[in-house]
Amino acid sequence: MDIYLPIAEVSVNAGILVLLGAVVGFISGLFGIGGGFLMTPILLWMGIPPVVAVASEANHVAASSASSVISYSRKRQVDFRMGGVLAAGGAVGALLGVEVFRWLRLMGQADLVVSLSYLIFLGLIGGLMLVESVGSVLRQRRGQPPAKRRDRRPVWLYGLPFKVRFPRSRLYISVIPPVILGVFVGILSAIMGVGGGFILVPAMVYILRMPAGVVVGTSLFQIIITTSLASILQAGRNQSVDIVLATLLLLGGVLGAQFGARASSRFRAEELRALLGLIVLIMGLQMGLVLFITPEDPFILVGSGK
């Protein structure tokens, strides 16, 4: 059934949107990520204007993250204090990001920055995840002991002022690194239409040295706050949230997320990470490809009215 979207002003198939929402929601629940990095490019390929795709997708990410964070919180796998600190940074980042995106659009450079961000961040993180997890899967197959984790925490994490206790994460560190991380992810969420889980999760593990058990839940919690805020800001500043589009996506999304969360217990963590790394890497390369291919038409219309 084709449906005309009131803000995007294009006609799309409603069934396909619900199905897409469900598939991305499943992946989101399976890996404990928002899934925006998958959905935003798909929406762009479907012909949804970039501004509307990015803004409406923030809404969809908020919904599927809310759907899965509740089950993590029941298992006491959310560090609300750390999530709050990250979200405070995220709020500042989202504010900045919405303004930066506005300015980039006026300069006609939004496409370039979106493609470059996907290529760099997704390519880098996907590649690293893939190498690291394939390595540990291979070591397990050969019966070797898992590589020793460097447990020594970097000095700078402790030398900085404004130290706060995070009991759930068993940490006593300065709030400066998580706030900066939050700002960075907030900017990305406004520009790329993603929650930023694919950056937050590795950053929490490798930079903040949080215990693996609370990482995913905490990341989802902060994503909900940042994307909700980004969504309200995009609606208020740019009038670019399409409520019909977001609702169709989240119908499938919240259900898919629940099935995904259940399925996740059937896989090994390393195998899941390898698969996620592969998906992230492919998506980054695919989005970045446009920068290298000679365009069919040397001219491009860069948004008219809005």
Binding site: D2, Y4, I243, V254, A257, Q258, I293, F299
Partner: protein, 260 residues
């Protein structure tokens, strides 16, 4: 919106010269959630006491929409957009249908004066222009785009044609019977909202002898209209409502699944 009242029918005796008359099957296009473009049929008649060869040109002009266009340039091996050029005065939708190719119907200057045909659209890029004195002539308009100006203009038209927003149809006006003609106006899904000025011009011997104007109104209706107004008039409330919907449905799904 109430359509503007039509002028009262003229009571005076019909003019002696040839006249053209036309009507639309649908002067009001409602954009609802089921909208997937629209086809409007324009039909009309040529009244001419004598039988001179007649040509009819139908021009549909949608609401003006500034166009931002960029050129892909290669920088350090990467294809990136140049600074965009803004064209003003270009309509969001434009169709020129005629019974013969326009160049056979009238001269270049007549077409230019009437703004008939895509080549005669009065669009330009004012931000790129500056006025200077050249060869002692004052107030000469110079475009920063220089000789490429035509490339840019042609690119605008090409991209708009690709999106079905601009069209030229040399056989778009068909005479179905003596003096009776019809033309079809295809509005794509992406057609802008607003008033479309439709002009029907009768040409004889290369001169416009009679003109008629009709208006098509494209407007959002029903839920689409309500949501669009909500998003634009109360943007912050709209944003909060959409986030509440998202969070509530996420929470509901997790509650429902927990019970199972």
């Amino acid at each position: 919106m109430i359509p503007p009242a039509l002028p009262p029918p003229a009571i005076v005796a019909p003019e002696p010269g040839p006249t053209v008359s036309a009507a639309l099957t649908d002067a009001n296009v409602r954009v609802t959630s089921a909208f997937s473009g629209a086809q409007i049929v324009l039909y009309g008649a040529v009244f001419d006491p004598e039988t001179r060869p007649s040509d009819v040109v139908v021009i549909v002009r949608g609401p003006d929409q500034p166009i931002r266009i960029a050129r892909k340039v290669r920088v350090a091996g990467l294809w990136v957009n140049s600074r965009p050029v803004v064209f003003e005065g270009a309509p969001g939708f434009y169709m020129a249908a005629s019974s013969r190719p326009l160049t056979e119907i009238a001269s270049f200057s007549t077409l230019r004066r009437l703004g008939a045909g895509i080549d005669h659209l009065p669009m330009n890029a004012p931000e790129e222009e500056r006025i200077e004195t050249r060869y002692g002539v004052r107030d000469v308009v110079v475009s920063r785009l220089g000789g490429d100006y035509l490339d840019w203009r042609r690119a605008v038209i090409r991209l708009k044609e690709k999106a079905d927003l601009y069209a030229t149809d040399h056989e778009g006006v068909r005479f179905v019977d003596r003096g009776l003609f019809r033309a079809e106006i295809d509005l794509p899904t992406s057609a802008p909202i607003g008033e479309y000025q439709t002009e029907i011009i009768l040409f004889q011997d290369g001169e416009p002898v009679s003109r008629r104007a009709r208006t098509i109104t494209v407007e959002k209706a029903g839920l689409e209209r309500w949501l669009f107004l909500f998003a634009n008039e109360r943007p912050w409330l709209y944003g909060i409502v959409s986030v509440l919907i998202a969070l509530t449905s996420g929470w509901l799904a997790s509650v429902v699944f927990r019970r199972r």
